[in-house]
Structures are given as C-alpha cells and as structure tokens.
C-alpha cells in the first residue's frame, strides 16, 4: 500500500424501497490507492462504512457483466473504472440509467432478459449435423464475421446509453440486436428468417436514431450500433424482397 493514504469522496445514489420514498444521495469518504477500481471503493464502503449498500458484482475483470453503473453520468463497468481518475474532486455513482431501480445500485433487468430470450439466441442449423460427423467447418474469416458480436457480456451499458431505449423501452435495443445479428451471420445458422420478423417489427431497428453512444460505452468493442445499422439495411432489403419474391422462396 502507498505511504500516504488518500481519501476520495464517493457520492452514491441510495434507494431502499422499504425506507426511502425516493432515491437519495449519500456521500462516503473512502481511503484509496491508485490501483483501486470504483468497485473496490464500493466494496470498502460495504465492508467498513455501511453494510446496507447493495450492488451487483462478481468477476472483477470485466467479463461477467454484473457491475454496470453510472459513474459521473457515464455508463461504466465499475471494476475497470479507477478512483484515481476522479481524485480529488470525487465521483457520483448511480444505478444504470433507463432501468427501474430495485435497490441502491441494483436495477431490474427483467426486460433485458426477456428480450434476450425472445430472439432465439441459439443456432438454428442450416443443415443439422450429428456429433459423429464432427464439427461444422468454419473458416477463420467466417468466424471473424460474427466474433465481435458474440463478445457481448450483457452488461447493459449500451441500454443505459441509448436515448431511444430511455424513451421507449419496447425498443429491442443495441445489445440484443448485436446478439441477434451474431446468430444471423454465423455460417452454421439458418434461422435468420425467423429472427428478421423481430427486426422488422415496429420496435425493431428503425427506432434507432443512430446516436452511436451505445458503441462508445461498450466495454468489449462489440459495436452494437453497427449491428443495429446493418440490420436496418437487412430489414429494408427484406421489405422490398417481399414484393418481388414469390411467397415461400425467401430464405
């Protein structure tokens, strides 16, 4: 540990539904070292200052997707945001925007999970294959095509960044669109037609106003904004093809 202990004020938006009628800010003075993450700051608060502070976390290394929150108004993973960058002024931590708060920094994520479940996020094989036949052949190029979109950790920062989702939570949103796209462009998959029905639906891609903030906050370089835009083109293509293709021949 460093020789001189520094103290940083951390302001946390508290909401305890059994005692608070509305969210309230509470400030904690937290000793820290330069290598400490915002998450470690919160853990310090919970361990030594106030055991009642609730937040989700687990892996500490930006892969489990649990610890998304607003840090000074920016959707961030608290495990890879560092206290030193806010010293000496301090920082304000709030629950992820655009989701209902369950308690303190914990949001209700049912909507996200329901959307995830609804888009058939699994391989619908083009050509079923038995295990005896071994793996599907997939070139590195084919893999690279979807790999980026398969890297979403479901942290929902992009939803907290998305102004459209903030206005209308029926919008499918960036992260789930990236996941849908990931399966649609997988060389093993043949389920695109089923999934495009979702894209074409009213609350599909066309709700996106192309702000691009979703991709900016993404901690894993998934670029969900790009997935949304690619699907706008796909969806438009689908729409026109409906008029020129005889029924049932579309893929």
């Amino acid at each position: 540990m460093s020789e001189i202990e520094k103290i940083i004020p951390i302001e946390v938006l508290r909401y305890r539904p059994e005692q608070d009628t509305e969210p309230v800010l509470q400030t904690f003075q937290v000793p820290f070292t330069d290598d400490m993450s915002v998450l470690q700051g919160l853990q310090y608060i919970k361990d030594y200052l106030d055991g009642s502070l609730s937040f989700r976390w687990s892996c500490r290394m930006a892969i489990c997707g649990s610890c998304g929150m607003m840090v000074n108004g920016i959707p961030s993973l608290s495990c890879k945001t560092f206290l030193r960058d806010y010293y000496p002024v301090g920082l304000r931590i709030e629950a992820l925007a655009h989701f209902p708060i369950e308690r303190d920094l914990v949001i209700v994520m049912d909507d996200f999970i329901e959307k995830l479940e609804s888009i058939k996020p699994y391989i619908i094989p083009k050509k079923p294959r038995t295990l005896i036949e071994g793996e599907y052949l997939q070139t590195p190029t084919e893999r690279d095509a979807y790999e980026q979109f398969s890297s979403c950790i479901n942290c929902m920062l992009c939803y907290a960044a998305c102004p459209q989702y903030g206005l209308n939570s029926k919008f499918i949103g960036p992260g789930i669109m990236a996941l849908l796209h990931r399966y649609n462009i997988d060389s093993r998959d043949g389920g695109k037609a089923q999934r495009m029905e979702m894209v074409n639906a009213e609350d599909g891609v066309f709700d996106c106003t192309a702000v691009g903030y979703c991709s900016k906050v993404c901690p894993k370089h998934v670029d969900p904004g790009n997935a949304v835009n690619l699907n706008k083109m796909e969806s438009a293509k689908d729409y026109f093809l409906r008029f020129v293709m005889p029924k049932g021949t579309g893929k």
């Binding site: 919970k46 892996c59 950790i153 399966y183």
Partner: protein
C-alpha cells in the same frame, strides 16, 4: 412459504448446471427442471475461464496421452476409471458445444484449432481466443433457452437442502429481490455451485465463488473429498489475483526472475530452450510452477512490488498482432489494470489460489452417497483432478459430467415418488428460521462481529497455513483460527434488516458456508502427512508416501467440532504410481515406463 414442484432441482447455472439442465431436458422432456442460481446464469464464474478446454483431436495425440497427463498431473490420486471415461467423452462434448454455436478458434481449413497447455504432452486445448469460459457459458445459457422444461430461478439464493427418508427431496431458496422463501420440491437435486477459492486471500475467483453447494452437502453428512488440494495458479495479477491464463505460456510466454533468468530450469523443468517444449519449463504443471516461484522468493530472486513479490511473464517476443489475436483479454487486462503494454513490457505476476481440486464426494455417475443428490463441476470430487488439476480439464469436466449428472438425475427422478409436502415444508420452515436468525438473532442483541473482518481473518489464515508450502504448526494455527472464527461468527452483525436485495444478509450466509469449507480444507491438510501435488509440506513430510497416503481424504461434518477425517481407496486401472517428472527428466521417466511396459 411458497412451494414449487419440480422433478429436478439444479443449484448453480454455470457451465455444469446449464449442461446438466440441457441433458436432463433432452433425456426426458416431461420432467420439470428448476435451474436455480444466485446470479443470472451468464454471471457465473465459468465466464472467467480463459485458456481453453481439453479434447483429443490431433492424429498424433491419443486418449492414453490425455489419461496419462491427467493421472500423472494429479500425482496418481485420481480415480482412473473415471478419468478413462472422461478423456473418452471430452472431444464429443467439445463438438457438441461447436454445434450449439461456441465460437471456437479455427485453422485456415475451417477445422478446430488447438493450443498447448501446461503439463500436456500433445496440444489438445480447444480455445475461443482467451475467453473460452465466457463463450462456453454464453453458448450454454443461450442454448438452454430452447428447452421449455427448464424453468430458471435467476437470483434465487439457496440456503439448504431438504432431506427426508434418507434422500434429498428439495431445496430452500431466498428470492434476492424480495427476501421471500420458497421450497422447491424435487425428486433429485444436482449441485453445480462451483469452487470455494474465495476462502483464500489472494485468488483468481469471482466474489460469488464461496463454496455454497459444498457446505450444504457437507452439513447433510456428505463427505468432502480431497479438500487439502487447492491449486495455486502461477501467473496472476499482484494484489487482486486476477488471472493471466496459462495460454500465455501455451502461446510461448516466458517466466523470468529479477535477473531476467528463466528460473524454472533450476527446478527440474529444464532444459531451457528457445522453442516451447510440451511438459517442460513454462509448460510445466501449475503446482510445480507455483512451488518454483516460492523458492525463487525465498532466494531473493523475485522483484518486490507494493502487492508482494513478483516475477515477469514475458510475452514481448510474440508481438502485438499475435497477442491481440490469441490473447486479447490478457492484453486488455494488462493495459487497463496494470498500465502495462505486454508487447513492450513484461507483466508482473505471482501465484494466487485458483481452483479447488476436492469437493462433494460423488461416484463416476456424479451420484453422492445421499440418495438423489448429484454434483458436477468444481464443487464435486468425481475423481479426475487428484492432487493437482491439469489445465483445460475443468471446462471439459463441466460438460462431460454436467451431462452425466443431468441424465442420472433424470433417471432417478423417474424412479421415486414425490415427497410429502407438509413434512418437507416443516423442514423448510426450520431452514428459513436458521437463515433469518442471522438478521434477527435469538437473543435480540446486536451482533458485534463485522462480516468483512471475519472474512478477511479467514482468508488470511488460509493463506498463512494452507498456502503453496505448508507446515504442521502453521496448519494447526489455521485450524485453531477457523474454529475461533466459527465461534465468533455466532455473533456476526448483519447491519441490514431489510428484505429487498439484502446482500449483507446473503454475505453472512456465504461466510458461514466458507468457514465450514475452510475448516474441511485445513483439517484435511494437517492430516495428510506427506507431500503430493498441490499439498506440499516442509516439516518432515517432504516426500510422497504411497504406502500410507495413496488414498483420498474424506472430511465429515461434525457441527461445532472439528471435522472427522477418514480415507477412501484410490481406483487404479492401468497406471501404477510412478515418478512424477517434467522436462528432460520427465521424458526419461516416460521412456523407462514404456520400456518396462514392453518387457
């Protein structure tokens, strides 16, 4: 209390739990499966596994090689019949994941690519860059959505098993969002709750890895087997313990001491060569590499940093482009958490606790001695890891034995009648009372012990007594300390008295689980008077002792008192215990074994 009627309850929705759920659903779609997890499935710690998963694919590799690497790597305390089954199933399970969409890294011809790993004779580690666990977990989770008979209980925390008429008949859970209790009735139960690495101070594990399932089974009389064997991974981030995968070395990374010297050659792992050689130097097994670090530290040849002594993991010669392709997550971890560009500067690393080789005693069918109770994955001891797990075997284990557990639990569920709800509810009410008393307390007084203080003292004493090298005195001190902490835990203060998302309360329950698991580890360790694999003593028991200790330890829960330790036989099929050696010495030993076999 609400009651949910399931046929099978699965506790834990990481790799093993999800694989079990899918297997059960495919075995019998009529069965109602309750998949319970204290976190959303994709948060489970499988997500953090990096390097890869084993499965023989290369023509010059063989099941025998995988078997020998596993059994020798485990210092011959593996169940060899189970290992034989395991290695024969791994590849099919990896192909199954491929069919389900796992983005395995590929060769130019479109076939699966494999990489080298520590302690492995031939490369057989399937990988998805360095996010293999992440991709496997998300693939399994997303695939599980296809099966309507799987009903998930996301963010439900399990507090107890319900056992009646000599068989498990359900589980008691708290809904985190409300604090409400539910009895989930089930004819069979699968525990898939992962390891317990958080009982140690410096570890690679996520906060959720608290041994819950191990402790629940243990409290109901199921022995915990081989708990003294705890794996230190040699290359972790100082302070936080975050993992730098073994794949760093599989791809050609080097370990250097403060003089820039590849010190592993001084510890029977050499010779040091320019090109990586399997089962030598940096590709030696984890226990030996962590032990070599310890000696370097004793000799003053490590580098001193604020979070302790370190050596250097040197990836510079691999170049940025290759590192970004093969080890993108490692690259980012080094950059973001340490401010180190690994293409330019070596990464400081030190060993940290990574994996619990032992766990809930189960047979090769994942069945525990308690009827109806199954276990799979890190929480279980199915017998493949022995005294030191081979890297890449744990992800494969999740699939192979998750599937077995799912099939077996489905069969068992069809063979028994549902239990009596009223009497099960009575038991569940007792479990509820037990859990609530942590908050309300019987004496009505305020607790005086902080959860965090107890947890930190536990983690420190485990590191002090049950670290890379162990001494009788310090293990005794750890046993005494854990006993003291268990007493003090009765006086724990849960500050939060609310119902909605009361994580203070859940942390206290987890701490109770951890203390029981830690106690089983410490007593199993002090009773093993030999050195084997990850259990190394420096107090007169430096050698492996096959006469007295070629056997599994079994810790039996004894409530307030110290656990009772007894021993079970080790199943040997085709590999008699031999010299465990790596590098040139290992190759010589292997030749001698082959010659002896051909006489």
């Amino acid at each position: 209390m609400e009651v949910f009627e399931a046929d099978i309850a699965i506790i834990g929705a990481g790799g093993a739990g999800l694989r079990a759920a899918i297997a059960a659903a495919e075995t019998n779609p009529e069965l109602k499966i309750a998949l319970i997890s204290k976190v959303y499935p994709m948060r489970s710690h499988t997500v953090a596994a990096e390097g890869g998963s084993a499965g023989v694919v290369q023509t010059h590799d063989s099941l025998d090689h995988h078997f020998n690497d596993t059994v020798g790597g485990g210092d011959w305390i593996c169940e060899q019949d189970v290992v034989e089954y395991f290695v024969a199933q791994c590849t099919e399970e990896m192909v199954q994941l491929e069919h389900w969409g796992c983005p395995w890294s590929r060769k130019p011809d479109g076939h699966i690519n494999v990489r080298a790993f520590g302690g492995m004779k031939i490369e057989r580690t399937w990988f998805a860059a360095d996010k293999t666990g992440f991709h496997m977990l998300h693939t399994l989770f997303q695939t599980s959505i296809k099966y309507p008979s799987i009903q998930r209980f996301d963010e439900f925390f399990c507090v107890d098993l319900v056992v009646e008429d000599g068989r498990v008949q359900g589980v008691v859970v708290i809904e985190t969002a409300t604090g409400q209790f539910t009895l989930i009735k089930a004819k069979s139960v699968i525990i898939a709750t992962g390891g317990a690495g958080r009982v140690f101070r410096e570890n690679t594990n996520g906060g959720i890895v608290t041994g819950d399932g191990m402790a629940m089974a243990y409290r109901h009389g199921v022995p915990l087997r081989d708990m003294e064997f705890v794996q230190y991974h040699p290359t972790c981030m100082p302070g936080t313990g975050l993992l730098f995968t073994e794949a760093c070395r599989g791809e050609g990374g080097l370990l250097l001491n403060k003089d820039g010297y590849r010190y592993l050659q001084d510890y029977g792992l050499g010779p040091a060569e320019d090109k990586p050689r399997n089962k030598a130097m940096e590709l030696g097994p984890r226990d030996r590499l962590s032990q070599a670090f310890w000696y370097e530290q004793q000799k003053g040849r490590t580098i001193e940093e604020p979070h302790g002594s370190v050596v250097h993991l040197d990836l510079r010669h691999l170049g940025e482009a290759y590192l970004r392709e093969r080890l993108p997550q490692i690259y980012e971890l080094a950059e973001e958490f340490l401010g180190v560009d690994p293409a330019v500067t070596p990464i400081p690393v030190r060993p940290a606790v990574h994996y619990t080789m032992g766990g809930i005693l189960v047979d090769g069918k994942c069945a525990s001695p308690l009827s109806g109770l199954y276990a799979a994955g890190e929480c279980s001891s199915v017998g493949i890891h022995g005294a030191n797990r081979l890297g890449s075997n744990s992800l494969a284990e999740l699939c192979v034995f998750g599937k077995v557990a799912g099939i077996e639990a489905a069969k068992y569920a069809k063979s028994v009648a549902p239990g009596n709800t009223a009497s099960l509810l009575k038991q569940a009410a007792d479990s509820q009372k037990q859990a609530e008393q942590l908050v309300t307390r019987l004496d009505g007084k305020k607790g005086t012990e902080r959860i965090a203080t107890l947890r930190k003292e536990m983690a420190q004493t485990m590191e002090d007594g049950c670290g890379i090298y162990r001494l009788g005195d310090s293990m005794q001190a750890t046993c005494d300390k854990i006993n003291e902490l268990k007493q003090r835990f009765k006086n724990v203060n849960v500050e939060d008295k609310s119902s909605v998302w009361n994580t203070d309360w859940l942390l206290a329950i987890e701490l109770g689980y951890q203390l029981d698991v830690a106690q089983a580890m410490a007593y199993s360790a002090i009773n093993r008077k030999e050195s084997r694999g990850a259990h190394q003593r420096l107090d007169g028991f430096e050698a492996r002792d096959d006469v007295n200790f070629l056997k599994h330890s079994q810790a039996h829960y004894a409530g307030e008192g110290a656990p009772r330790i007894d021993y079970g036989a080790v199943k040997i099929t085709k590999s008699q215990p031999g010299t465990r050696a790596y590098g040139a010495a290992g190759e010589k030993a292997e030749q001698e074994r082959e010659q002896a076999a051909h006489v």
